[in-house]
Symmetry: C2
Subunit: 568 residues, 2 copies
Amino acid sequence: MRLSQFHLNTVKEVPADAEIVSHQLMLRAGMLRKLAAGIYTWTPLGLRVLRKVEAIVREEMNRAGAIELLMPSIQPRELWEETGRWQKFGGQLLKIRDRKDQEYCYGPTHEEVITDFARNELKSYRQLPINFFQIQTKFRDEIRPRFGVMRAREFLMKDAYSFHLTPECLAREYQNMYDAYTRIFTRLGLRFRAVQADTGAIGGSASHEFSVLADSGEDAIAFSSASGYAANVEMAEALAPGARAAPAEALQRVATPTQKTCAEVAALLGVDLARTVKSIALVSESGFVLALLRGDHLLNEIKLAKLPGLAEFRLANEAEIVEHLGSEPGFIGPREPRKAITLVADRSVAAMADFVIGANAVGYHLRGVNWGRDLPEPDHVADIRNVQAGDAAADGSGALQIARGIEVGHVFQLGQKYAAAMGAQVLDAQGKAQTPFMGCYGIGVSRIVAAAIEQNHDAAGIRWPRAMAPWQVAICVINPKSVAAVDQAAAALYAELQGCGIEVVLDDRGLRSGAMFADIELIGIPQRVVISERGLATGQLEYRRRDAADSEMLNKEQLMTRIRADSP
Amino acid sequence: MRLSQFHLNTVKEVPADAEIVSHQLMLRAGMLRKLAAGIYTWTPLGLRVLRKVEAIVREEMNRAGAIELLMPSIQPRELWEETGRWQKFGGQLLKIRDRKDQEYCYGPTHEEVITDFARNELKSYRQLPINFFQIQTKFRDEIRPRFGVMRAREFLMKDAYSFHLTPECLAREYQNMYDAYTRIFTRLGLRFRAVQADTGAIGGSASHEFSVLADSGEDAIAFSSASGYAANVEMAEALAPGARAAPAEALQRVATPTQKTCAEVAALLGVDLARTVKSIALVSESGFVLALLRGDHLLNEIKLAKLPGLAEFRLANEAEIVEHLGSEPGFIGPREPRKAITLVADRSVAAMADFVIGANAVGYHLRGVNWGRDLPEPDHVADIRNVQAGDAAADGSGALQIARGIEVGHVFQLGQKYAAAMGAQVLDAQGKAQTPFMGCYGIGVSRIVAAAIEQNHDAAGIRWPRAMAPWQVAICVINPKSVAAVDQAAAALYAELQGCGIEVVLDDRGLRSGAMFADIELIGIPQRVVISERGLATGQLEYRRRDAADSEMLNKEQLMTRIRADSP
């Protein structure tokens, strides 16, 4: 492609409403233009990248034996009523009335449509197992669309749905998709982790999220380098600590006139933060609750909400705190509340001895506190904290590390939920009607583009993994049209690289070199060759990889060898 | 692809609600499944064909220098207000409210969005000319969706929009697109015509429709074999006839007791139908109108509506006819109306002498009628009829032929309409702001699949042009799993054809041969090889082209030569 015949439109200013770097860079590189909130046009440059992702996803899905079809974007309400999701899906479901006043939605996902397809098409066990996939435009009416295509309303998704006669067969296909996803993200050149997302009702590891690692990621991922173990911090189990030690200190009331946080109290008293306990006051359907966590731990609300009577809770306000504990926040604790409360202790807290708590009196804490002796045993002992770096991994493989990630894929064992709700049945080998088991497997195709940028960028712009780059090589021509030899050399190299099947773009727009180089770096082309009159005179070409600090002067043969070696 | 690992689901019965053969065959072949009125899932088989069409369209658009992007399906109301089309587009526009009560539509076309994109992106003449295209899902809320994907509500379209500084530049790109479309439909292997659709305000040939020829087509196309001339019958000009002859017969009242139509009257009187004149009674904004046509001609309502005072008209009812002409329908004519009427004569009628008309008296006609002598000259003389086979072509190239066609593409010179309405401007070389000229170029990608079937089918099913076939060759295995040599030979041939880059499908489902052959013919695979124990014994393979009457026995080498020669 010659850039003079393409449409490249880079922007210098960082757009005001772009909060994250991928959104900023996609707008600055001119990959994306906003049409409305959460709705974007993919420019020719952006689309080149999107199609690369799409092609790799398609190839690997085909290789894994999944079969592509194409379902409509507009789906009738009746199907969603069958699964109860017309109501339950919530505000993200974009509902539509046609001219005949029939109700539809713009599909945010296709479980209903594929299950309807399956109940009409799949009649016999001989047709199973089967895995259908599509790469198709979806719409979710996000209440706060932002971050560009990271959380757009209209987006491109690969979704796949498999059907099986037995859970074992589903588990095999689940593993097959897990492996396919691993190949996809590996081929895309992304650093990623398959994160255990739930150890839910269906058993085993029924759900994994595939996350692209990036400091800006919304999800915190706990993983063990020693094993494949990885889980969202919200989901990762904090292993039970060892047994509780016997009390060694006497209970002591200490003045902490201005020290309200565990860190301040620990500093004042000269004790380890891990010897302090913070009390988080909550109000739930079962009344006033104190959740107790080690001073260096964070509450995990998802884990807490799984305890009886705590499905719904909120932070207590100051009046409620004073009413139940007799103290202002900052000095509260589980000992001698003014009114009956529920005590929920994290497992680490339940195993502590000689610890520090608030005294329920302004300006005071208690130290040398021990369960049983100074306090009643807690009402609930449970894992209610987030794991943190250095904790032991739940699989026993060693210390956890924490990274941030962006979810770009999800594999899920749905079981019989949709098939049962919609009455999909197949005859087994004995001629008996059976409800099939389903898996579903999604990849956010457009989201991957943004995630890749979050992971791969620098001050100059995007640094595409080569599998996603719009072109592998940019030829930058200094002063085209003014020196014939330069133009000829550029055209010859362009033709030669194309002849080798290498995707090359020729920047013949006639910009001055600074602006040209800035554009090529911004849009992230992995390799750059500069052709100038001065270079030609020496028989050398200036070559630079996007991730190299400096350029090198190479002769033609060296150049071709380098480019061939570095292109996919 | 092995069919045992694919999802093929053919149906024997012709579905009740499928009115046309392409819809019937697409459902029977299992290419399509209905989700809701005018909304279809493309099954794996259907999608293979759709993607072939899409790929050829994309390749030729790229080759023609157009640049692909991807615009959203959901478009904000504000843009459509700018062009006035939010109201004017009519009921086909599917209007949507999101959770914040903002209004959108599901894009039925993208002039507004691309013009908005252009006004933000295109600032200088240096960026022009440019032609953007996309292949994208659209929705038109048809009041009566039918004929499957021929007139679906959700459909796949290629739309392109070009921008130019001058009308001359637009005209060049128009021709470029015309040529690209010609290559596309030629490569698809379809018989088609580029039909002049309008000779409107912009001048020259501002609009062409590309129609696939098929007896079932909705459009009647007049064309001249001697030249490239082709036009929709509604648009084709009927050339002016020669000068009017002098009267030779006397006016005569003749009894036609039961003869009401021109054909009946002509038969009774023994005159040529072309000597009779039919009177069509209409009511328009300018009152009661008689449109006069030769007995063998058909009224062209589009042409008629272009006359002054006739933009809106309807057929007169019997009471109005009696009131103005004093006679019941069947015997009416332009002579001596009871009340003042407007006479509109087709040019052929105005050139007639000694003709036959109704006498405005039940049971009577007049013969030997002549303009001037027996009748006042008509108020309007114009081309108000459809051309018919044998008429002279408007380009003077000889006699017209009439064929039926299905519109699958449209190229159009929009001029400045959208750019002006939306304030898109670019600076010219002199730094002066100019409103660009636009062209738009559409192809109904999903519709092409149906149109190809309308053109290419027989009693057994679809006969795909090879460029559109889901696979080029089907290997039918008789009794797989029972004779190892048969399985091995099939697998070896399958691998060898794949090695040659030929798309081959192996029917290893184990059906009996009749059912297997019926399926392969129904889904339209161009070439078939049968591998059976008996054939193997003789070293011969049974080969049959889908369009051949019989199969032939070939040895392996002959077979490979034949298949290679017949595959794209």
